[in-house]
Subunit: 475 residues, 4 copies
Amino acid sequence: MLAELRGLNEECGVFGIWGHEDAAQLSYYGLHALQHRGQEGAGIVTKNGKGLHVVKGEGLVNDVFSGDALKTLTGRAGIGQVRYTTEEGRGAENVQPLVFRSMTGSLAIAHNGNLVNAKDLKESLEKQGSIFQTTSDTEVLAHLIKRSSGGSLTQRDRVKKALSMLKGAFAFVILTEDGLLVAQDPNGLRPLSLGKLGDAWVVASETCAFDLIGAETIRSVEPGELIVINDKGLHSDRFAEPADRAICSMEYVYFSRPDSDIDGINIHMARKRCGKQLAREVNIEADVVTGVPDSSISAAIGFSEESGIPYELGLIKNRYVGRTFIQPTQAMRERGVKMKLSPVHQVVEGKRVVMVDDSIVRGTTSRRIVKMLREAGAKEVHVVIAAPPLVSPCFYGVDISTDSELIATGRSVDEVRELIDADSLTFLSAEGMLKAIGRPAEMKNCGQCLACFTGEYPTEIYADTVLPHEKEIGR
Amino acid sequence: MLAELRGLNEECGVFGIWGHEDAAQLSYYGLHALQHRGQEGAGIVTKNGKGLHVVKGEGLVNDVFSGDALKTLTGRAGIGQVRYTTEEGRGAENVQPLVFRSMTGSLAIAHNGNLVNAKDLKESLEKQGSIFQTTSDTEVLAHLIKRSSGGSLTQRDRVKKALSMLKGAFAFVILTEDGLLVAQDPNGLRPLSLGKLGDAWVVASETCAFDLIGAETIRSVEPGELIVINDKGLHSDRFAEPADRAICSMEYVYFSRPDSDIDGINIHMARKRCGKQLAREVNIEADVVTGVPDSSISAAIGFSEESGIPYELGLIKNRYVGRTFIQPTQAMRERGVKMKLSPVHQVVEGKRVVMVDDSIVRGTTSRRIVKMLREAGAKEVHVVIAAPPLVSPCFYGVDISTDSELIATGRSVDEVRELIDADSLTFLSAEGMLKAIGRPAEMKNCGQCLACFTGEYPTEIYADTVLPHEKEIGR
Amino acid sequence: MLAELRGLNEECGVFGIWGHEDAAQLSYYGLHALQHRGQEGAGIVTKNGKGLHVVKGEGLVNDVFSGDALKTLTGRAGIGQVRYTTEEGRGAENVQPLVFRSMTGSLAIAHNGNLVNAKDLKESLEKQGSIFQTTSDTEVLAHLIKRSSGGSLTQRDRVKKALSMLKGAFAFVILTEDGLLVAQDPNGLRPLSLGKLGDAWVVASETCAFDLIGAETIRSVEPGELIVINDKGLHSDRFAEPADRAICSMEYVYFSRPDSDIDGINIHMARKRCGKQLAREVNIEADVVTGVPDSSISAAIGFSEESGIPYELGLIKNRYVGRTFIQPTQAMRERGVKMKLSPVHQVVEGKRVVMVDDSIVRGTTSRRIVKMLREAGAKEVHVVIAAPPLVSPCFYGVDISTDSELIATGRSVDEVRELIDADSLTFLSAEGMLKAIGRPAEMKNCGQCLACFTGEYPTEIYADTVLPHEKEIGR
Amino acid sequence: MLAELRGLNEECGVFGIWGHEDAAQLSYYGLHALQHRGQEGAGIVTKNGKGLHVVKGEGLVNDVFSGDALKTLTGRAGIGQVRYTTEEGRGAENVQPLVFRSMTGSLAIAHNGNLVNAKDLKESLEKQGSIFQTTSDTEVLAHLIKRSSGGSLTQRDRVKKALSMLKGAFAFVILTEDGLLVAQDPNGLRPLSLGKLGDAWVVASETCAFDLIGAETIRSVEPGELIVINDKGLHSDRFAEPADRAICSMEYVYFSRPDSDIDGINIHMARKRCGKQLAREVNIEADVVTGVPDSSISAAIGFSEESGIPYELGLIKNRYVGRTFIQPTQAMRERGVKMKLSPVHQVVEGKRVVMVDDSIVRGTTSRRIVKMLREAGAKEVHVVIAAPPLVSPCFYGVDISTDSELIATGRSVDEVRELIDADSLTFLSAEGMLKAIGRPAEMKNCGQCLACFTGEYPTEIYADTVLPHEKEIGR
């Protein structure tokens, strides 16, 4: 489905590089490849012999780094982030990487994920005298590192001690004046890959960033692993015992780019297999298969191939929809989704249409697309979703808000079908999805997090765990 | 193929509306739907009881009409244009619609096409004392109308007389204080459709503009027709006898949006049939079919369906590439096309790939994509083009520059294949294309212009006919 | 008085240069020095061997020529204009220089002034088939030049013939591919000076432009003179017999910069002498003299010097008031003029204040300043104006709108005094002003235009002569 | 002298308001009046029942608060700051007010001044685990307040305890959810005034802010005073015993607006008296007196009045010089200061000119102005400075950099005269300046800081006290 059409957003994407003379520019390209993970803000911090340099701002990577912005980012190491921000207006101060300066050395941190014990940690830190200037979890880590400075601890040990106090989903890239540190939570909830470009090391949320800059993918960062990269090379350490691997299923289903791989599995191929599996699980008499662009195209191709029903471009995405879009008149507003998506009349007219999508969140968009297809002449509209129903909120960095906003929570499939006015509605089974994605069957849930589909969370959840979009400390 | 990746550009798209209280806003949406036809400039002129109001500027529709710009465009009638400009810096004064003010009433004109006798007409007009302020053909029409003002001629007759002097390709929408005038050249070279939205009349270069605003498509404007719309209704007139219908083939092959129809034929379906026909004309042993996004996807689907070779997303388009893109380092530049297009490794690795595209212009981009697929692991790359080779320049408003820039001019298919380093190269036959598109077989060339494929032009071509991008009067 | 505080605006300033390798940059600096003559738009056209190059836009000189704009303006000759536009929104197409392209050579024109027979000329030209794209008088000249192209006329003769048909106030700089042409109306109503920078010739509305670029002032352009500058040198010609010299008095009183000279008379010194003369014509018992910044400071200094009453900064101008100023609350709005002007309490508290200004237009601003001084503690406020009362509209390019807007029209000085709530009000006599400025006494009105003070116009005025801000042809 | 022409910059201006429904808008106007104290950044924080709201950014007040920015700043209390930043690029994160969020309530701080023990305090705080995100002294105060939270201390007591640890110059306005806190350092080094607007309390760096919004000036904030304003009213407290009053002399001489009062003494009048005193201390035969605009005009008027030499506008300031000014050619660059300042030829030609200025920093600008006056024809140029020579750096918030940059350090007056090529050079004596300004004679140095003139600092100076522009912690 179209990212713009629903409230389902990734929190961000991170990138890091060590040991390349074009560190800033490669970070820029890396963030560009990760742009789909966050369009609200972007930032890069580089390190040269004299300290850390930062450029960040609200907007797309291209906007933030226009003109000569990159030129000020000298040095052979850098980290960057693209960001999705939940609430308007609070963004500027939260754009990452965050930089923390100190007499004994500066620190920059970029983060993807969400901590479930952030509130507890903040309360405890504030009692010890810490002051928070942002509402982000990233700042919690910085304070914990600072506080861990007791005795003869090395910097790496301090970071390990701090990381070990965090609960939830996190992928951190940290740039200090001595090295690049990379950490993944014990469940490995968010994707984070390690690569190499000549002698330089690179890390990124998705491998598509490596492809763009010509780097080679080496492996995923391991759950509970702390990688320290400095001029002596790469050293793998551990700040926690690995828990059950639980990589976010929605990365396969929706977030990641089709050309990225996670743990060696290509996203497009995984989605196509989900589409095929779906075709095996359902039996629909229909004339054409169409996918809701962009993320459902792969599944639609797979569904078509398996079912033998021809694949068509029944829905076209408008490439020029931007932020500054002028408010439509009431008449236009009712046409709603049309500004972003157009039906191809002659494809659907008089036809029984299979509309493949990857998820239904609130249902409003699905209902509108179904309506649009019917108005364009579709005789029947069969909605098939290449994933199980979303029924539970995510506490790990995906903006699936609350139960009450999810149309499938507490409703039967048929009730949902009626609300979106489809002739039939089918969700892929959880087992089917796991099998189709094809991760190791010996792991629990094949090493995937299914929390949004099942309500079973791989980590502890605290009474006061808050969803990302609800965070705002100090009122 | 990607529009950004080659020098193949449509000159513009036009829109008009008469009799609706939201004339400006609907024009805005109409232009938005036509945005793919020109991204360099946009403008709207509306008419209220007190005269013509104009807002125009360089950039995308969203940029030009940001803020309160639309609010100044009051009135119940409007015309608009989106524009592609060939040379940087000369754009501002050429952005359309052009407005011509006079004591006896003002006139606004928007134009899509290119006149082949513009230079002759300008010379003659200048000799009579006319002054030109732009380099556009549109101004020629305005002067001819003004000059035709002899004796007792009505305005309509003056416009007819002026139009009858024009040779070449043109689709005009003209707004006066009395009415909306719409004219199509005698060969009907450029698309122009008539629609209805409630009681209001609308015209647009493509029917996708009607779909977006909820209007109904009525018919194409006829070759040689002058439609006059005013408060008394619509009146169809004729300024010239219709010549052989010769609608631009590249509209079907490349320019128009997949959800538009031209003369009742849907673009996506036409392209898909071209892909199928291509599959019939060639015999390739391969593992996957992939299309070069966006315009070749339809043909790729058709090719896959007919050939039985599975269709895959072998190439992903980067949606965030913008104008302000920072200059890459030399190392990055060599990776070239990668910023805009990414291969999906696991799709092509070790595979024999059929890469479907809609055209080859200079060949450089094709060569890069082939190379990119090979670097991603493709075992073989078979390029199939869902149209005949481009061998001749276009004088009718498409920026296919000169013979010497076209790789296929004076080269055999195998020579081109070698230059782009493909394992095989196949073009669709002209007959196959005409058949697949499916226009009336009884018409000459099925009513299509094949000039860029054959060098046979449907109109006279003058010794001094100049290509659009070469125009610059008065030095 | 403050330009921003009243409706008294100069139409524009012009600049030209021939024969210097930095033509564009020197034009930019020249326009910068003339910025006070027009803040709404700016443009420069240069000529190299290949034609004319133009950059123009709405806004200040610095805004229009930001970034690399100047780099595109190659060549050794250029003209430019800064412009004040009366009505918002119509500006873009009227920004000058206007460029007229033709097969036989292009032409760019910049203009300062206002034609009184523009409407007649336009009607006549339209009847002959001319089309107007702007509402400016400049376009009339271009058409007349084009129309004069009969027989064996040289370009210079055509320009002379065209100029001879114009009535009113005009200072033209014209750039063709062969030369720079400079013309002044037969009465010499608007200032225009000729200078030299090394071997290059320069022209400008005011000599302060010469000072900035280091050029030497040679002389004023003569009434009725056409100067032709080309690679052979400068040639002075004549398109009309000179009429009585009638340079705009308001240039001395208000518009021109204090460091400019007109006909060898320095503006600051002329104003200071007006202040002295005023002190001789009136007898006020007072404690301090203060001027309304910026234009009345010189007269205030003179008044103080002659009267012996100490000169003080009683009013401070806020330098940071810009266009984007946020709308004040009602409470703030009532404080009105305070955003732009602040009283210095300790200067005026308990004092009898002489407030020197250069003009009263509508009277609202004067009343507010008087009120502000009283609120700051002034015991008495005596307003003295270093010019006669404005009673008649200007048809020569100054936006003194209509009789009805001028507070002094049809009112006695005492009635005006009462309306602005001053303790006394004194205007400088016309004779006193002429004497103080010090132009040749043997000329009629010392060679000055006094129309706005007396209603006697130096040129014919037609029944349909329109004021600049009322111009809008063809509705 | 022109602020833009030398490296002498105020650090900032602050504003605060409590108890007015238009708090944000009045803060905006207040900052506008203080704009001359800092043009690099601006910010406002308001408080409504639900927390603190912040808008800030780089640029002028008008730029930062364009559009709807003010609308988000709801509430009846607000603080704001305008800021001068020493180094480009580090600005964004340092723009004030800074906001510190905490579980127990948020805090916003705006600051004018410079701490001399900042480095010590930071080191100590970091050792206790504090993390700094900016390089500003303001953050030090926030951490000290947070750290003071031991036991049963009230918020006011915590603030007092924190303030008592600070050494140097500081004027703080602090907004919490419970009140507005205002503090002045024990020497009262920076100006800070208290006023009233109806029932609302206001504070500002200068009284001109009160005049603009129509508020009444009540008194200066006392050295060592902490004012707490909340819904119960205003309560004056004390965090330190007052030391010798030592208000910055440069506020009288150069920084403050002529219409502001400090401790009841009007700036313009003080400067005029300095000019008079200077005329008494020197004996120059000359024809005209001219001041270097803007800040030296008052002194020049005084000098003229006392000496009897006529005051003239010998130098005109260009009002349109902006940031985006295009780089001049080499030839233009040599003309240097001319872009900002123009001589009036006829005023100085053949004359013996007294040029009054308020300070000489590096001497380069003075030398250029002298040269410009000579080139304009001045026969003699006598430079008189209405203050003593600047010889020592300032540690209290004025960017008078280091000894080595000050031309007068270690040079005799005649050596300086020779370097700036003046015919004579005279500085006002320190005693003359103190007498002319007219503060209480019974106080030490009349209650003024003379450090930059004498090198005697009113506070301790630490070995590691750093100048504002050298601050950058943790590299």
